[in-house]
């Protein structure tokens, strides 16, 4: 039983247990086992990464002690950059990298403003969120801009971001997994990851030990920006256009996903497995409840209750295994 005890010592172990419980619950109780129906899993895997990829970055940022509320504006902004470049005649490949670059720049800006002014990032990113939303509004006039003819269905680019592997496994889920692995290695195995944790857990101690906490935070903001850019392109290719409503609500939902996955709002606590589980939990709850034929009018109430139950159960299991 040694491996069980070792497993339980992992911070996200309790989240994992409750998550497994949730998945089993839905798998067995939905009529005709709909939850594990190929179409349902494909739909889930195709859709949750839009928020999931962003949540990965937001989680890493929360571990280093900061918040980024501007994701809900940065994402549509990058999407618009992507789409406008396509209209200008640039190849999707270059437009994509430009969008990532813009995301990185906006993240850099968030980071610099936050560390230089020493104001809480909650406030600074609230400001940048409103600013970029305003800029986007003026620039795009909020009109949708279709790109189906520029990124045709079946083209290599489209298949890379919105296709399927083996005719049913959605490629978006693979991208999510890739980013989760890369960021997970960074967080848990790389020295920079230790700097991220130290900065979030005790910034003064980290500084005293020679860690450049400003650099760490700015780098984390840039990670979030780049992931926003990526998700923006992934989403734009799938829905076939820029939509001004892309990313609405992501700022709070990403934070919620991370908190559900065990990330502390105070920084210094969290893990990649936890963030991944958190990013999966709310979409699964949403999905499973509908499949259970719960009345879909006002389903948000049920999702809210279920989320709270999940978190309560999570801390209960954590205390029992401490």
């Amino acid at each position: 039983m040694e491996w069980v005890r070792n497993f339980l010592r992992y911070r996200a172990a309790n989240t994992f247990l409750v998550f497994i419980g949730l998945v089993m619950f839905f798998s067995l109780l939905t009529p005709n086992y709909l939850f594990v129906d190929r179409r349902n899993l494909a739909a889930l895997g195709k859709l949750f990464p839009d928020l999931g990829v962003v949540a990965l970055g937001v989680g890493v940022l929360m571990i280093c002690g900061e918040f980024d509320l501007s994701v809900s504006s940065v994402l549509p902004f990058c999407s618009y950059v992507f789409v406008r470049l396509l209209y200008r005649g640039f190849a999707p490949f270059w437009a994509f990298w430009a969008a990532l670059g813009v995301g990185a720049l906006l993240g850099l800006l968030n980071g610099l403003i936050t560390v230089k002014t020493k104001m809480p990032s909650f406030i600074t990113t609230l400001g940048t969120m409103m600013f970029w939303r305003g800029v986007l509004y003026i620039w795009s006039k909020m009109m949708p801009a279709g790109i189906r003819n520029l990124v045709p269905s079946g083209s290599l680019f489209e298949r890379t971001f919105a296709g399927t592997v083996g005719s049913f496994f959605p490629v978006q889920a693979l991208w999510f997994a890739l980013f989760a692995v890369i960021l997970g290695i960074l967080l848990h195995y790389h020295r920079f990851g230790n700097w991220i944790y130290a900065t979030g857990d005790n910034r003064d101690a980290a500084r005293a030990m020679g860690i450049n906490t400003d650099l760490v935070k700015t780098a984390c903001f840039m990670i979030v920006g780049v992931l926003c850019g990526f998700s923006a392109c992934m989403q734009a290719v799938r829905i076939g256009s820029f939509a001004a409503t892309q990313g609405i609500g992501f700022e709070l939902r990403a934070i919620a996903a991370c908190v559900v996955g065990g990330t502390s709002l105070r920084g210094g606590v969290g893990s990649m497995p936890g963030i991944v589980l958190g990013a999966l939990t709310i979409p699964i709850l949403d999905n499973g409840l509908i499949l259970l034929r719960v009345p879909v009018f006002g389903i948000s109430a049920f999702i809210g209750i279920a989320t709270i139950l999940f978190v309560v159960l999570n801390s209960y299991v954590e205390r029992k295994t401490r």
Binding site: R191, Y197, G268
Partner: protein
């Protein structure tokens, strides 16, 4: 252990420091000899913390010079201080509570393999060795620091200083908020440092702790050095009087 062989290890000359309009240090001279333990005492606001923060690179002096091992040096960051061999154990937790002991000891100095990946094996082994050197017995280097007692936590911080071959260890109020037993643990750690021949600056309010461990005492008040006495020339009561008098003087 008195080892005053001529040249002091550290010499701070005529240090002035302003924080905005607050004149925190008004021309302080301060030295520590090799292998010596100095107790830096004085009431709140005397400038003790500020002085040693300049030595540890956290602040920079506005005026004055610092000599280390006879050479004039510029300490512009904590990294510079550590490169010289000056390690500090801060009052306000020097450790990140949710990180493991090993990750705390090697914070900022993680042993790495290729591409910056942490060498876990080396980190854990070295951590246990560092703790053992101090006589601190802990179950595993993966324990989060928050699970340790106050005394053990200070031990980890001191073990960190010891491990990185400090020549001078500065302890800023290390016995604050500790139980009697824990205080004795910490003092024992400091004795281990002394046995290694490391110079120690020990800042405290508690004159009895200071008297127990230090060989010389420097009394500060309102940014100035008020007295510099050797242990054999004084007693805790006399020190106490000195501190109180300085607080009212001028």
């Amino acid at each position: 252990m008195e080892r005053q062989n001529g040249e002091p290890l550290v010499r701070m000359v005529n240090i002035h420091k302003w924080f905005g309009r607050v004149y925190a240090l008004r021309g302080v001279d301060f030295e520590v000899y090799r292998g010596e333990t100095v107790g830096l005492i004085g009431d709140n606001g005397a400038g003790k913390s500020t002085l040693i923060k300049i030595l540890s690179g956290y602040h920079q002096a506005d005026q004055g010079e610092i000599y280390f091992e006879g050479q004039k040096v510029r300490i512009s960051s904590p990294r510079d201080a550590r490169k010289l061999g000056i390690e500090t154990v801060y009052q306000e937790q020097a450790l990140a509570p949710n990180l493991s002991i090993a990750r705390n000891i090697f914070m900022g100095r993680e042993p790495v393999r290729r591409w910056g990946i942490i060498d876990r094996k080396v980190m854990n082994e070295e951590s246990m060795k560092a703790l053992a050197n101090l006589g601190l017995r802990l179950r595993s280097p993966d324990l989060p620091v928050v699970t340790l007692s106050g005394g053990e936590r200070q031990g980890v911080a001191i073990a960190r200083a010891l491990h990185f071959k400090a020549k001078l260890v500065i302890l800023d109020e290390p016995t604050v908020a500790l139980s009697v037993k824990e205080v004795e643990e910490v003092l024992e750690f400091v004795r281990q440092l002394q046995r290694e021949g490391i110079s120690v600056i020990f800042i405290t309010h508690n004159l009895y702790h200071a008297y127990d461990i230090a060989e010389r005492f420097v009394v500060m008040a309102r940014g100035k050095k008020m007295a510099d006495v050797k242990k054999k020339d004084t007693s805790p009561e006399e020190l106490s009087q000195l501190v109180i008098k300085s607080a009212f003087a001028e």
